[in-house]
């Protein structure tokens, strides 16, 4: 019996994509959360705005979850290593781009939280700036979906 088969390769892809995006989101949300806690110490009334901004870098993990879900759905015990590698490759865009974009989005969100700490009316601008980074995660999600086919 072979240790490495198509099924395992595909699963490794799903795992890698999810791991990378998950680590990135944790870093991003963690950073924004720390800055947010600082702001809330001084001004607890900003909780809702802080929470919205803090949550933004978590979407990358949701995207990676979707991809992992699709990959697991396509797994077939009889699949060849090449077929497995196709699915592995499909997980890379959301994994790698998700990892990096979540960290950077966390930084933008942290800065956005500081912005609303000074100007309460700037929530929309702060969210918009953070969503600019989101675009790359969305594009990598689409790329991964297209690759799964």
């Amino acid at each position: 019996m072979k240790i490495i088969d198509g099924q395992l390769v595909a699963l490794l892809g799903a795992a890698l994509g999810f791991l990378l995006a998950g680590i990135g989101s944790s870093k991003g949300v963690g950073l924004a959360g720390q800055v947010g806690a600082g702001v809330l110490t001084e001004d607890p009334s900003k909780f809702v705005s802080v929470m919205v901004l803090e949550a933004l870098p978590s979407t990358q993990t949701i995207y990676a979850f979707v991809i992992a879900f699709f990959i697991i759905g396509r797994i077939d015990p009889a699949m060849t290593v090449t077929q497995g590698l196709h699915l592995f490759a499909a997980a890379l865009p959301i994994g790698v781009v998700g990892f990096i974009s979540a960290i950077y989005q966390g930084k933008v969100a942290a800065a956005g939280i500081q912005l609303i700490a000074k100007h309460s009316g700037s929530l929309v601008s702060a969210i918009t700036l953070a969503l600019m980074v989101e675009m790359f995660a969305i594009l990598s999600l689409i790329a991964s979906i297209l690759m799964i086919g």
């Binding site: 110490t41 001084e42 930084k107 939280i113 700490a117």
Partner: protein, 335 residues
């Protein structure tokens, strides 16, 4: 070497950003300046949450209010800074101030004035005891050396000015040494900046009093980006030629502008203001830093400047000076 790990400053940076809108604004300054009486101006401060409950004891005790406000600021920073040593670097300047006041009182045989501050690393009560008992165990080596030097020099020369000179120099020397021990380009550059503008101020003041190079040389602090030679070659020339010499440095424009104000008689303290405003302009760079030590230090400078401005306004109001006269002396604020 004290490492600064920026990530550790996330919470503190967020908190400080939320504190910044509570610094006095232009309209609050305007209300204080246009107030009909000193009491009314004082009320703006208490409304803005100045001091602690117990320190709001009426307009003539405003110094106490300001001292408490500064203390509050240092306590906050020391509490939220991941490494309190970074804040202590800035607090030691107040230790030197207390030492100066205490030594001068002792050497001139006068009573200790009530201007001691509690913003240093050593409380004013402990400091009073330590100087009285000559117990320097909690002093830094530089502090203890400076105190010994003061006793020595005063015994020989009986010159109270020497006390200022020795302690001011030691204070900056300690500040620069402490900052060079912290791994932060922003702080190092800040130390250079502060040393330079202090030297420029002292040099121009000494020049206006026609002091010799021998005298000026003793005043100048070590460090900074402007070399001693620049001061030396201008030490027998008018202040304007010095301004021309440093025209291309980052201080050039401010020195020129300040000297113009002084020379045209518009504002005798114009140079001081120009240099302070230049420093504030430098400090404002911290606004671009989301997470790091910069927002904390910038807040400290913002608060110090605010308190100086408030002191000018309150003193002016109590003495009935016209608002415009006070206004033109106010330093630019951080926000």
């Amino acid at each position: 070497m004290l490492k600064i790990n920026e990530g550790d400053y996330s919470y503190a940076s967020g908190l400080i950003r939320a504190k910044e809108p509570k610094l006095l604004t232009g309209s609050q300054y305007a209300r204080m300046l246009d107030a009909a009486s000193a009491e009314e101006a004082y009320k703006v401060l208490t409304d803005a949450g100045y001091g602690t409950g117990g320190s709001q004891q009426g307009v003539f005790a405003f110094e106490q209010l300001l001292a408490d406000e500064m203390k509050k600021c240092f306590m906050l920073l020391a509490e939220i800074a991941p490494k309190a040593e970074v804040i202590k670097v800035f607090q030691r300047r107040y230790d030197y101030f207390n030492i100066k006041v205490l030594l001068k009182a002792e050497l001139s045989g006068q009573e200790i004035p009530t201007i001691l501050v509690d913003t240093g690393t050593i409380s004013s009560d402990s400091m009073t005891r330590m100087i009285r008992e000559r117990d320097y165990s909690e002093f830094t080596p530089l502090m203890a050396d400076a105190v010994a030097q003061v006793y020595d020099v005063f015994a020989r020369m009986q010159d109270p000015q020497a006390v200022d000179l020795i302690l001011d120099k030691a204070s900056y020397q300690e500040f620069a040494a402490d900052i060079n021990n912290i791994d932060s380009p922003f702080l190092r550059d800040l130390a250079d900046f502060m040393i330079d503008i202090t030297n420029i101020r002292m040099f121009i003041r000494a020049r206006s009093l026609n002091k010799s190079w021998d005298f000026i040389m003793k005043l100048l602090l070590d460090g900074g980006t402007i070399l001693k030679e620049v001061y030396q070659r201008n030490s027998d020339k008018p202040a304007d030629s010095f301004a021309e010499d440093i025209r291309k440095s980052r201080y050039g424009d401010a020195v020129k502008k300040g000297l113009e104000l002084v020379n045209t008689g518009k504002n005798s303290s114009g140079l001081e203001k120009a240099m302070d405003d230049l420093l504030m302009k430098y400090i404002r760079r911290a606004k671009l830093v989301t997470i790091g030590v910069e927002p904390l230090i910038a807040y400290l400078f913002a608060k110090e400047t605010e308190i100086r401005n408030v002191r000018m306004i309150m003193t002016g109001k109590i003495n009935g000076l016209p608002a415009d006269m006070i206004r033109e002396r106010l330093r630019d604020s951080y926000v």
